[in-house]
C-alpha cells in the first residue's frame, strides 16, 4: 500500500508537537524538536535505525495493542537519562547518580506520557483510538528480540510506519528520541481519511 510521504510527515509533525509540549510540561523546561520524520520501512531497517543512534543505552518500550498494532520506544544516553530524572523529580542537575526503582519508574512514565500524547493527536487526526500497555525498561541488545516478537505476531505486511521524534532539553543539552512503529494498517486508515 502506498501513502503520500508529505501527508505522512504532516501527520507526524502534528503528533510530534503534542509530545514535545507534553515533555516540556512534564519537566517544566523548554523543549525543542530536533528531528521529526515519518517513514515506511521494514522491521530490520528499524532495528538498524535504532542501533545507529550511538550512545543510546536506556530504552523504555511499550506495545501498542489495539486500534493499530505496534510499539513505542524511548531512547537516551545514560547521562541524559540521569538529567531527565533530575528534571522529573525536581532535583538539582547532577543529583541523580544511578537509576533506582523510582528513577526507572519516572523514565517509564515519560514514555507513557510522550507516546500517549502522540497517539491522542493521531486519534484526533484520524479518528482511531490506539491503546498501549504500560512501558517497561529493556536493555538495547534486547530491542531486536522484542521487534522480532512483534513481527511474528503481525499480519503479512513486511513494512511498518515509523514516527521518529528527537527532542532536546535546551537547559540540559540533553536529548531523548522516541520511535513509534505502527503496523502498515495505519496507511490504510490515513488513506481512507484523506480519500
Amino acid at each position: 500500500m502506498t501513502i503520500d510521504p508529505q501527508l505522512l510527515n504532516d501527520i507526524a509533525r502534528r503528533a510530534t508537537k503534542s509530545s514535545s509540549r507534553a515533555l516540556s510540561l512534564l519537566i517544566g523546561q523548554e523543549v525543542a524538536i530536533k528531528t521529526t520524520q515519518a517513514t515506511y520501512l521494514s522491521l530490520d531497517k528499524l532495528v538498524d535505525l535504532i542501533r545507529s543512534r550511538e550512545g543510546s543505552h536506556v530504552v523504555a518500550f511499550s506495545q501498542l495493542i489495539s486500534g493499530v498494532k505496534g510499539a513505542a520506544l524511548l531512547l537516551m544516553s545514560p547521562t541524559d537519562a540521569l538529567h531527565l530524572v533530575d528534571s522529573l523529580m525536581k532535583r538539582p542537575m547532577g543529583t541523580t547518580k544511578e537509576l533506582g526503582d523510582i528513577e526507572r519508574s519516572a523514565i517509564r512514565e515519560t514514555l507513557n506520557i510522550l507516546s500517549n500524547s502522540q497517539l491522542t493527536a493521531l486519534a484526533q487526526d484520524l479518528g482511531v483510538t490506539i491503546n498501549m500497555l504500560p512501558p517497561e525498561l529493556i536493555s538495547p541488545e534486547h530491542i531486536a528480540h522484542v521487534l522480532d516478537y512483534l513481527a511474528a505476531h503481525r499480519g503479512e505486511t513486511t513494512e511498518i510506519i515509523v514516527f521518529e521524534t528527537s527532542m532536546v532539553v535546551a537547559a540540559q543539552e540533553s536529548q531523548v528520541t522516541m520511535f513509534i512503529a505502527f503496523d502498515a494498517e495505519l496507511a490504510g486508515i490515513i488513506n481512507s481519511k484523506e480519500g
Binding site: R108, E109, N112, N116, T129
Partner: protein, 118 residues
Amino acid sequence: MNIVIADDSQFMRVLLKNIVHEAWPEAKIYEAATGQETIDQYKANHPDVILLDIMMPDKTGIDVLKEIGMQVPILVISAAGQEQIIEEAKALGARDFIVKPFDGQKVLETIQKILGSA
C-alpha cells in the same frame, strides 16, 4: 480526608502524594499499583476520592470504574487522553478526567470541586 492514589507508576504516585499532602497535610493517603489493589483499598479504607490511572496491570482503570465507579468519587488522571477513553470513563462514573502531564494546581482544584459536590 482519605484518598486512594491508584497508578502503576511509583513515580506518579509519589508526585500526586506530594501534591495532595502540600494542600492537605492531614489527609490519609493510600496507594494502589494495580486495579485490584484499588478495589481492595476502596473496600478497606472508604476513601473520599480516588485518583485513578487507566492503564494498570491486572484490572485497568476502566475495569475499576465498572465495579465501583458509581459508588465513590473518582478523578481519572491518565496519559490515555483519547476522546473515546474519556467518554467511556465518564459514562462509568468518573467525576472528571485529567490528562497527563498535569498541572498540580489543576489536580487540587478538581479534587476540591469533586469533594464539594460529593
